[in-house]
Amino acid sequence: MARLIGGIGTSHVPAIGAAIDRGKTQEPYWKPLFDGVRPVRDWIEQVRPDVCIVIYNDHASRFDLSVIPTFAIGVGAEFAPHDEGYGPRPVPPVVGDPALAWHLTESLILDGFDMTIVSDLTVDHGLTVPLSLVYGQPQAWPCRVIPLCVNVIQYPPPTGERCYRLGQALRRAIESYAPDVTVAVFGTGGMSHQLQGERAGLINREYDLRWLEGFVHAPEELLKIGHAEYLRETGSEGIELVMWLIMRGAMDPKVREIHRFYHVPVSNTAYGMVILEND
């Protein structure tokens, strides 16, 4: 039977990918970040999941305004890095797991979560930056990857509550898969940041730290936070945090926290990471 072995929450700031790709991780601006996330490299080396389900958002890359899926799952065999205007990132192709992805799709839809099914999917920094943070620069990613893409660009994104319930359904889906594979779930995006408007550059450290504490120890408390609060307190792009709640919903209510790290700034963003195991 498939088994969920852990969850990672991480921001997916594109500049992190550029810093890794250009060998800048030891420069003074970047060193504190890469020192702070180092434990994730050691952790993944120990647990070595066969499959990572990466919950992320597409940034007007694969999807544009013509079609905006709220929840989409990638069922293809391979997902090429998208050219986001600088040429595609020099990272390996992302290898999918169509058998598990189709199982998850069937289980989720029959469980009440109407996923959009995507075979032809390029993936942008939202998915590849977390892989780079966790695995560095391997010749090939050492795991299969199932992209789970969430709309957080077009208002309204799904609610935090809905995301958490999707995570719970994802857990049921994983555990009803017969083959003996190990799975990790990544919830990505956030933390507080606003890229647009006169309020661009907004960071809310106190809110982020309080939210992280609740995320680990009392996630149900976060489910009543509405979109207006996320927009107001964490910035127009901070609302990406709802994607972390999918990961949290997949984990047990009570978890063991392996690592927590918070750092400001990364580009225009507050960076956060947590690593969780089921207790």
């Binding site: 647009q196 006169e198 207006a228």
Partner: protein
């Protein structure tokens, strides 16, 4: 068009990309999206105004694009992930765009310094109701 009020309407300096923004800015954003393709970037570079003729833009949107009025593009329905494609075309960074949208003459260097110092404070920036008028 009438839009129902939202709880987020009082957040200052924030253009929530909701349905009314989508309707207003659909073609502006889809123009920006077209710059994903190298051949389109070449065509735009060789004649910006002529390239924009392919899109049913309002005169205000055309002007904002041609004059790179980053804040105005948001007001006219632009979404930052789309308008940033135009900024990338121009070779600009998110810090440059952030400074330009700040609307108070902030330089890119000043914006970078603000980020290094912990970012723009939430204090005074939660609601127009708490923003001092003046």
């Amino acid at each position: 068009m009438m839009n129902s009020p939202h709880e987020y309407d009082d957040i200052p300096g924030t253009y929530v990309f909701d349905g009314s923004h989508n309707r207003l800015g659909y073609h502006l954003n889809m123009f920006c999206k077209s710059l994903d393709v190298a051949a389109n970037r070449d065509a735009f570079r060789s004649g910006e105004a002529a390239y924009l003729d392919h899109y049913p833009l309002t005169p205000e949107q055309r002007r904002a694009i041609l004059e790179r009025q980053w804040l105005e593009m948001l007001r006219l329905g632009g979404n930052i992930y789309y308008t940033f494609k135009l900024a990338i075309f121009d070779g600009l960074t998110m810090q440059h765009a952030g400074a330009a949208m700040s609307g108070n003459g902030m330089t890119t260097e000043e914006f970078q310094q603000m980020m290094l110092a912990g970012g723009r404070s939430i204090t005074g920036n939660r609601s127009r109701r708490e923003t001092p008028r003046g």
